[in-house]
């Protein structure tokens, strides 16, 4: 029952405190449990199972992330540069601190320290608010720069600074180099790697490298994926199907040399690969779903705060705080995975 309370505060409102059949037990003991311990254990098991479903929900997304990153590492290498690591790190700290205050709130409620519990719950709630505000700032930058998902990806809106300038410069340089490319030179993966190495010296070097090696923009990327992953079709809707990638076997049958696909090189600061929108699709889905979970967690904590102020919790009855805490830790934990996977790619 507490489980239901924690995860679904709304359902609580319908019937407060069970059916009140007057068994003369503890007021918080539901009629179908024999003891508070049994009730607590049931709630805890229920919450852990619920957390397992949450992990699996995100697990699907992590799988999608893994598949696409394996198939298109260059997209992730390139696009993550648009994410602001500073804001991300601040957000990580904010969530970790809120996790700490939540854990402390659980301890305080177990000791029956009502005021301290309320205070700590309020702080945890504020942590959630802080996280969401920072996330909103980040989202707004992305929207403004056209760094969005799928068909909405339009980086031409980009180029207004925002601390992501070097990415824009690299992009611009790459585009320029692409136009300048004469029908000269045999593109090769090895050379494009060299260009990438040169580029890592800095933004200026990046310009130089791109200009000096125009073939970097046309370096080939033979699909190395077996079977199903190899679907890097063209970004434009009207591209004819001839441009779809080939099966590895077809590549092998080609007279010689690599297949001329339009998947670009993958130097760190280098030219823009195709399908960059991919990364932002992943980014927005994962952080968006996580954000919804933060909001749900905040709702739970807000409701716990109200109950705490009302004086519902005591040293014998703190189950909702405990379970709400578990949920909040899970929300933190997911972020702890998201942050390096999205922001700190190397």
């Amino acid at each position: 029952m507490q489980m239901a309370d924690a995860a679904h505060p709304i359902s609580h409102a319908a019937v407060p405190h069970g059916d009140a059949h007057g068994h003369g037990h503890h007021p918080n003991l539901e009629h179908h449990f024999d003891s508070l311990t049994q009730q607590f254990d049931a709630g805890k098991l229920g919450m852990w199972l619920f957390l397992a479903t949450e992990v699996l929900l995100f697990g699907g997304l992590f799988c999608a992330y893994a598949i696409f990153r394996r198939n298109h590492p260059e997209v992730f290498m390139y696009a993550h540069q648009y994410l602001d690591t500073t804001w991300g790190a601040i957000n990580t700290v904010v969530l970790l601190v809120s996790s700490f205050t939540m854990a402390w709130a659980v301890t305080a409620s177990q000791r029956g320290q009502r005021n301290l519990t309320s205070l700590l719950l309020a702080l945890t709630f504020l942590g959630g608010v802080g996280f969401m505000v920072i996330k909103a700032i980040e989202y707004q930058h992305k929207f403004h720069d056209g760094l969005m998902w799928g068909t909405h990806y339009d980086p031409s809106k980009h180029g207004h600074g925002h601390g992501e300038g070097h990415g824009a410069a690299a992009h611009g340089a790459a585009a320029a180099a692409g136009h300048a490319a004469a029908g000269d030179g045999r593109g090769g993966a090895a050379e494009s790697h060299a260009a990438g190495a040169a580029a890592s010296a800095g933004a200026a070097g990046d310009h130089g490298a791109s200009a000096a090696h125009p073939e970097a923009t046309t370096s080939v990327h033979a699909p190395e994926t077996p079977g199903q992953g190899a679907s890097a079709a063209a970004a434009d809707a009207d591209v004819p199907p001839e441009r779809a990638p080939l099966e590895p076997s077809q590549v092998a049958l080609a007279p010689s040399g690599p297949a001329g696909l339009h998947v670009g090189g993958h130097d760190l600061h280098g030219p823009r690969p195709d399908n960059v929108h991919w990364f932002f699709g992943v980014y927005f889905t994962m952080t968006g779903l996580h954000g919804l979970h933060v909001l749900a967690g905040m709702a739970v904590i807000g409701w716990l705060f109200v109950r705490s102020v009302r004086g519902d919790f005591s040293a014998d009855y703190f189950t909702p705080v405990d379970l709400g805490g578990l949920y909040w830790h899970l929300v933190d934990l997911i972020w702890i995975f998201l942050f390096p996977l999205l922001y700190l790619i190397h």
Partner: protein, 572 residues
């Protein structure tokens, strides 16, 4: 809800005006806001049965469309056009799978029976339980609302890119509400499963050890594990599908670099275990019915229990067998095929154990038993034809033909047969009324004949190369289609007869004794219908399959205990 609601509750009270769960409180809100697992179970049952009729209506309609081959061959498709036909089979599939069969046995009957069988007062989280029911109601409403938005014609599998690009009219179309509805229904299912797991772990009374639990509880437990572990993946899949269709996020869209086959992996990662969500509780009920109606201890209790768990685990590892022709890598196909075959073993073990239970029993052909014996036949065919489809080389020929359609109907409708059997079995407990055995048995026989008429011929059409989801077909298949359609009308008649039997029972059935069938599990030890609190004090736990101490008592019209620890019964 309405047929059993307050109006019906009145006449249901047996002669002694005892307090039971139906009469405990009155009025709309006493049902709508109830936390009693029995009332929630009854509401589920009414809802699910109603939706079964809706899904069945679509089935009869689409079978009628298929009576004639195609316009070119001289036949005239008079009823509806191809687009409407596509909507029929989509809604038939979506309604039957997501709304009827998946929640059917666990949510409706499991809710009613599980705590009683366990000797508990309720499920662990009654409010969550009510929440599940409302999620089911909302999800169902959303799915049906697609009719208003122009219907949905993607097939119940929602394969991309059809479901994200084309499918129905407009960007919103009927696809979005159905997919969103299935998402909500998924959470209903998760919460039911979660509730059952915790209930079985934490609310077993003293003495009810794991290996004393009736096998229905084992089946439900294994089901609940799958519900909790697989359904979230469906959730995320459907969310991504919605994001794809509404926002163009590009996960499954090859034009945006996505992978349409990825959707199939995600979808079947849930939807194959979902088959076991459908069949495992039915197998649990089977163990009860076979044992009770042959009045004989279940054979191989532990093997049946563990085979449920084995099926639940292996069920997670076989999803790729739906994709032998989708272009997944050959290596993956081989692995999936191997595991698929391994899952045949626990299913065979169950069949043989049930069969052995019948041996030297005292078989009583009551309606629930007729459904149970039908299941042996139907699931036997359904399971064996699965072998053909698990063979990769053969699946290249049979995949997406009527052979597959017939195969999964023989499996899933096996569940429906057991569902009906279970409704009859627990009907006296739920309503406090007996039903008329004659018409109930007749309905079950009609159902059996109609079902086999409808689907057996589809195996033959499938091997000859009749693809599924075809509005028009070559004239050589017409005979098969006509037989199949006639079978569906026979089933329709059977269902109508079943409804008539049940309504008559509610109106004028004789009051039910506590234990009309001579069953040994705990729910038969409380009155029919059970009191609001189930058990004031949990009854002593006995072997649920020990029938030796039970004896027919003419005065009660049911079975009573001959003293609990009576010696081995001498033959009467």
């Amino acid at each position: 809800m309405s047929s059993l609601n307050p109006a019906a509750a009145g006449p249901l009270v047996g002669a002694p005006a005892t307090d039971n769960y139906l009469t405990h409180s009155r009025g709309f809100w006493s049902w709508a806001a109830t936390l009693d697992h029995k009332r929630i179970g009854v509401m589920y049952l009414v809802g699910i049965f109603t939706m079964f009729l809706v899904g069945g209506l679509f089935a009869v309609l689409l079978r009628s469309v298929l009576l004639t081959p195609d316009a070119a061959a001289g036949g005239v498709k008079t009823i509806v056009d191809a687009n409407m036909y596509n909507r029929f089979f989509t809604l038939h599939g979506a309604v039957m799978v997501f709304i009827v069969i998946i929640p059917g046995i666990p949510a409706a009957l499991g809710n009613f029976v599980l705590p009683l069988m366990l000797g508990a007062k309720d499920v662990a989280f009654p409010r969550l339980n009510l929440c599940s029911f409302y999620l089911w109601l909302i999800g169902t409403g959303m799915a049906l609302s697609s009719l208003y938005w122009g219907g949905v014609d993607t097939g119940w599998t929602f394969y991309t890119p059809y479901s994200t690009k084309v499918g129905s009219s407009g960007a919103f179309g009927g696809v979005v509400p159905v997919v969103a509805g299935a998402f909500v229904l998924g959470f209903s299912s998760i919460f039911t499963g979660l509730n059952f797991i915790v209930t079985i772990h934490k609310l077993r009374p003293p003495g009810m050890t794991w290996f004393r639990m009736p096998l229905f509880l084992w089946g439900t437990y294994a089901t609940a594990v799958i519900q909790v572990l697989a359904t979230p993946v469906l959730g995320i899949t459907l969310l991504l599908l919605l994001a794809e269709r509404l926002l163009g996020i590009g996960f499954f869209d090859s034009e945006l670099g996505g992978d349409p086959v990825l959707f199939q992996h995600f979808f079947w990662f849930y939807s194959h275990p979902a088959v076991y969500i459908m069949i495992l509780p039915a197998m649990g009920v089977m163990s009860e019915l076979i044992s009770v109606f042959s009045h004989k201890h279940i054979f191989g209790y532990k093997f049946i229990a563990f085979s449920s768990v084995a099926i639940a685990i292996l069920g997670f590892l076989v999803w790729g067998h739906h994709m032998f022709t989708s272009g997944q890598s050959e290596l993956l196909g081989v692995i999936f095929s191997a595991i698929t075959f391994s899952i045949a073993i626990p299913s065979a073990v169950k069949m043989f154990n049930w069969l052995t239970t019948l041996y030297k029993g005292s078989i009583d052909f009551k309606a629930p038993m007729c459904y149970a014996l039908s299941f042996m036949w139907i699931f036997g065919i359904g399971g064996l034809t699965g072998l053909f489809l698990g063979m990769m080389g053969l699946d290249q020929h049979l995949h997406d033909t009527y052979f597959v359609v017939a195969h999964f109907h023989y499996v899933m409708a096996g569940t429906i047969f057991v569902f009906f059997g279970a409704i009859h079995y627990w009907w006296p407990k739920m309503t406090g009324r007996m039903y008329d055995e004659g018409s109930a048995v007749l309905a079950s026989i009609l159902m059996f004949i109609g079902f086999n008429l409808t689907f057996f011929v589809q195996f033959m059409m499938g091997t000859r190369g009749m693809p599924r989801r075809y509005y028009e077909y070559r004239p050589e298949f017409q005979m098969g289609h006509v037989i199949s359609s006639i079978g569906s009308y026979v089933m329709l008649a059977a269902v109508l007869l079943l409804i008539y039997t049940m309504i008559r029972s509610l109106r004028s059935g004789r009051p039910a004794p506590a234990n009309p069938w001579g069953a040994g599990s705990m729910e038969w030890q409380c009155a029919s219908p059970p009191p609001h609190d189930n058990f004031k004090t949990p009854p002593p736990v006995v072997d649920a399959y020990d029938y030796e101490s039970l004896e027919w008592d003419e005065r009660v019209g049911g079975y009573v205990h001959r003293g609990r620890r009576g010696g081995p019964a001498a033959a009467h």
